[in-house]
């Protein structure tokens, strides 16, 4: 259900695996995060992601369990890469199957929102002036507001 890994993933294969186990689910939503060419006004050639082994898995599991409590979900699959990742490569995959599309959309976004604020990953960007730690964004904290209603 959850993988933290250095190697890249195959989005199509992940989708096929979700679908093969989706049984009576009529909706599948996937989110993929990619390394952007430009971030915080400098040209980014690659990123490096560090994580807190053990805690990262544990907090991702916890977020998925919270999502299962809030919505009726079928399959949940989360992959987050760590280590060196080149520009325009894939970083993160979240895939959800559900009977109803609304539950799948909500859960997928919920997992991404909490992943962004609660799971111990830290990103450095490779810029022309060297590796730089990325600052946390206030907008990521603000995004959580929608889940407290």
């Amino acid at each position: 259900m959850i993988s933290i890994q250095e190697q890249d993933f195959d989005q199509g294969a992940e989708y096929n695996s979700l679908r093969a186990n989706a049984d009576s689910d009529g909706a599948i939503v996937t989110f993929i995060g990619l390394v952007r060419d430009f971030n915080q006004d400098s040209s980014v050639s690659s990123i490096h992601i560090e994580h807190y082994p053990g805690m990262a898995e544990k907090s991702l599991m916890n977020i998925c369990l919270q999502a299962r409590k809030r919505w009726k979900l079928g399959q949940i699959r989360v992959i987050h890469r760590v280590g060196l990742i080149q520009s325009s490569e894939q970083i993160v995959f979240v895939g959800i199957s559900s009977k109803h599309r609304e539950d799948a959309f909500r859960a997928c976004e919920f997992i991404m929102d909490f992943l962004k604020t609660d799971v111990p990953f830290w990103k450095q960007e490779g810029t022309p002036s060297g590796m730089k730690w990325v600052n946390a964004k206030e907008t990521d904290e603000q995004a959580l507001d929608r889940w407290s209603k």
Partner: protein, 81 residues
């Protein structure tokens, strides 16, 4: 004895990934952080920056009690995804 771990920019700045720390009972995260800060100049960083903490791999507030054998971690706000 507890283990204290540091991650990302905090680990780099302190030049320390982990250290062992003697606790007598009923210490909070805030107490331990204060003791670290008093170690010298580079440790000021811990109180100046926005620092998150986790006890036994769960995010907590600084009022959390730390017991012998626990794993305590300090790190900057997370930036995954």
């Amino acid at each position: 004895m507890i283990q204290i771990r540091f991650f990302a920019s905090l680990r780099e700045h302190l030049d320390t990934a982990s250290l062992n720390f003697e606790v007598n009972n009923e210490k909070t995260v805030a107490d331990i952080k204060q003791q670290l800060v008093s170690r010298g100049e580079k440790w000021q960083f811990l109180s100046e920056r926005d620092v998150l903490c986790a006890v036994n791999q769960t995010l907590t507030g600084e009022d959390a009690i730390v017991n012998d054998g626990d794993e305590l971690a300090f790190f900057p706000p997370v930036t995954g995804g």
